[in-house]
Symmetry: C2
Subunit: 442 residues, 2 copies
């Protein structure tokens, strides 16, 4: 066996994921060395508080509060501190020092990715971030490398385990959102302040990253339309279920081409996060609990799906280590880091330019001619109806009848749909619009 060189690894942050990365680097050193072509030596761990409790028992002498000095001695830097500063400055310092960087910091990438990628390119080092989207699931590397000769047309991702757990609970138990959220908090799937998850902000940052790699163009958070799951009711879920659908919070990045008059002048990419109906037979519909999955449609490859654990210290550490070993192999071989494939200038489109099918629930007066009136109004707005179903309820006590109307449309633009809904609301036969939800995968 030839003598292997040693590469020094600096770890910034030692939370949930960081502690597992440190454990694996120490415990699996013997396994990682031959497949890397170098010994990966954990040179130190920078933390804010030396005395904090850790998930894993690690040697005390590895810890330091001086990240800046640690980074300067490293061949490879792993940033798992989260937040913008000091993560950003330490990453820049590492890159300028010639170290390759692995990060899972989606907030930083969504906020300031382009500047970081540019610095890495200039320095000829790798900046990789598989852990930032969908935890353990290899999705960024397949999009960047395996699909580099194809044209991705659409990405649909369940990329937030918290919201998928909540929606799955609501679907399987009939619970209301607030109760399902409480259950998720009790089980540790949701944080005490669940805003970033349930309002879709976490998924939106991931959508921006997925869209950037899929469409070879930099998109940031401002390009992402974002709607969370707080307004999804048990009634919505039940109605969807009855109609053969399941409601998922999807991160969507989709190429829009000008085929119809509605979208003329609107060629580009729609990046969005919103609750979405999926047919129960769609591969994404079977993604239960806190699991994640990303469904990719490409012109040549067709439909692909990547499925696995989207969070958790150990699974996410697997993604970090995959990036680390790949970057280390590149250092061993010599030559600069990877080429970035962000070469395009595809415009990001507003949500109005997206076209999907819609599910619309209406509480209507039980009178003759109501269906015809509504159908006529949809037609006037250029929105074609695929399915229309009316259910009559009779209140046993009052003997008053009410009617519920459920409509699934063909693909229509957001703008056309919004105008239709406004017009429907104004009809005297309409008591209320109970839900408007987008449908994908039908």
């Amino acid at each position: 066996m030839t003598e292997l060189r040693t590469l020094k690894v600096a770890l910034l942050g030692c939370g949930n994921v960081g502690a597992q990365v440190a454990r694996i680097l120490i415990d699996d050193a013997g396994t990682l060395a031959p497949r890397t072509g170098a010994r990966l030596e954990l040179a130190g761990i920078a933390v804010r508080n030396l005395d904090a409790e850790r998930d894993v028992d690690l040697p005390r002498d590895l810890f330091t509060t001086d990240g800046e000095t640690l980074v300067k001695e490293a061949d490879l830097v792993i940033e798992l501190m989260g937040g913008i500063e000091p993560a950003r400055s330490l990453i820049l310092s590492a890159i300028q020092n010639g170290a390759s960087v692995v990060t899972g910091n989606k907030a930083l990438l969504a906020a300031d990715g382009p500047a970081l990628y540019e610095e890495a390119d200039k320095a000829g080092v790798e900046l990789s971030y598989e852990a930032a989207v969908a935890g353990a699931i290899p999705i960024l590397r397949p999009i960047r490398d395996s699909l580099s000769g194809d044209r991705i047309t659409r990405v649909l991702g369940i990329v937030n385990g918290t919201t998928n757990f909540i929606l799955d609970q609501m679907d399987s138990t009939g619970a209301q959102f607030a109760d399902a959220l409480a259950e998720a908090q009790r089980l540790g799937y949701a944080e005490a302040d669940p805003t970033a998850d349930v309002e879709g902000h976490d998924a939106a940052a991931k959508a921006a990253i997925l869209a950037s790699l899929s469409f070879h163009t930099r998109f940031d958070l401002e390009n992402v339309y974002c709607e969370g799951i707080t307004r999804v009711s048990a009634a919505d879920i039940a109605a969807a279920k009855e109609a053969g659908f399941v409601i998922k919070l999807l991160a969507i990045a989709e190429k829009i081409t000008a085929t119809g008059t509605e979208t003329a002048g609107n060629e580009g990419v729609s990046v969005r996060v919103h609750p979405t109906l999926l047919p129960r037979e769609h591969p994404l519909a079977a993604v239960r609990g806190a699991f994640n999955a990303v469904f990719v449609e490409a012109e040549n490859a067709g439909e692909l799906m990547f499925y696995g654990q989207g969070a958790g210290g150990t699974p996410t550490a697997s993604a970090v280590l995959g990036d680390l070993v790949s970057a280390a192999r590149r250092i061993v071989l010599g030559g600069p880091g990877r080429i970035e494939s962000t070469t395009g200038h595809v415009p990001a489109l507003p949500i109005d330019a997206a076209t999907t099918s819609y599910y619309i629930g209406l509480d209507v007066a039980d009178q003759p001619g109501v269906l015809a009136k509504i159908a006529q109004l949809f037609a006037e707005h250029g929105v074609s109806i695929e399915i229309m179903r009316q259910t009559i309820h009779r209140d046993a006590d009052s003997n008053v009848e009410s009617a519920e109307l459920r409509i699934v449309t063909h693909r229509a633009s957001e703008a056309a749909l919004a105008a239709t809904v406004e017009a429907v609301k104004a009809l005297d036969v309409i008591n209320s619009v109970t839900s408007v939800l987008r449908v994908e995968g039908a």
Copy 2:
């Protein structure tokens, strides 16, 4: 826009996949160039017969019968001829000439992969073969790169679309194997001579490649136990269905560790292909028709699944082009090709060392004490029973009763199971052993 350099691409073979690769290289040249960092120029296509019919209309002057000369002028060579020779000689010639090679030739890789990888390493060029396993699905690169910091413990793959289509037909329509095969042939999913597919040979070659990358050790066809689907009956499928299972032909590569006495001295990797029962709720159970999927279990990442189209000219061309663009990017950046991660020396184990659960169907005499006798015999052989269910049938005409016994065992070794089945057969209360099938994913 800076002037891009041109890389010459030689294509060997112009069948189903090759013709689509040529089409994409020509039609998408403008898209591929900026994301590659070089213009990819299709310099020529080597074929046996210049006048053969092609799936795609391609410029006549690209075609040549002189593969050897074509290869010598190329920076990148795509081999899609299939078979051992002249594919092998042309690939070696390309490598020695400093060209990176992309191939989808699983037969060649299974037969002579190690010699080819070694030559590529020596020459500092890339030899990539994503298209050889599971068509369009990015699976080899994720295993090689994304999971390089993890330890894979098990891979379960539906990697042959023909057999998955046949089994799915049998499952959904109740058809016998012969009828489902005929339907697959009629629809073009099975070839006139379906041996390579239905006997599991195609899946076995893919299993060897998956095992080699997953366990960092070279395994070849001789290390793979192979059992096809020709003996799977409609009755097997129906019984499995009733018990909540679906039968799939799985390519399995599994790490076996010596935890029990049964497997002592048998540490290593079991690589095998056989019809397998899967619980209907397992993610692989939902893979229908001719689709492929690979389910990967790793120590840190947990469970992952990769799903998509496993065959077809255009989907497979996507995988070829992903490899091509990645190899071209590396040439543009300079520096040698990828490091190979085949560094281990894990032994390949015979099928006897594998442990799985088993489903056993028995036609037994309807007498008191039969169940106890059989249970006793299983216990004596160290095979633990998880579920035992007896169904009594009464023939309306003869009024003769017969009993059917269905047993699902806990995990047991092949050897223990085989001994148990032999002993069961010898019991006087047994009319016949109607099926013995392995169960995974329970």
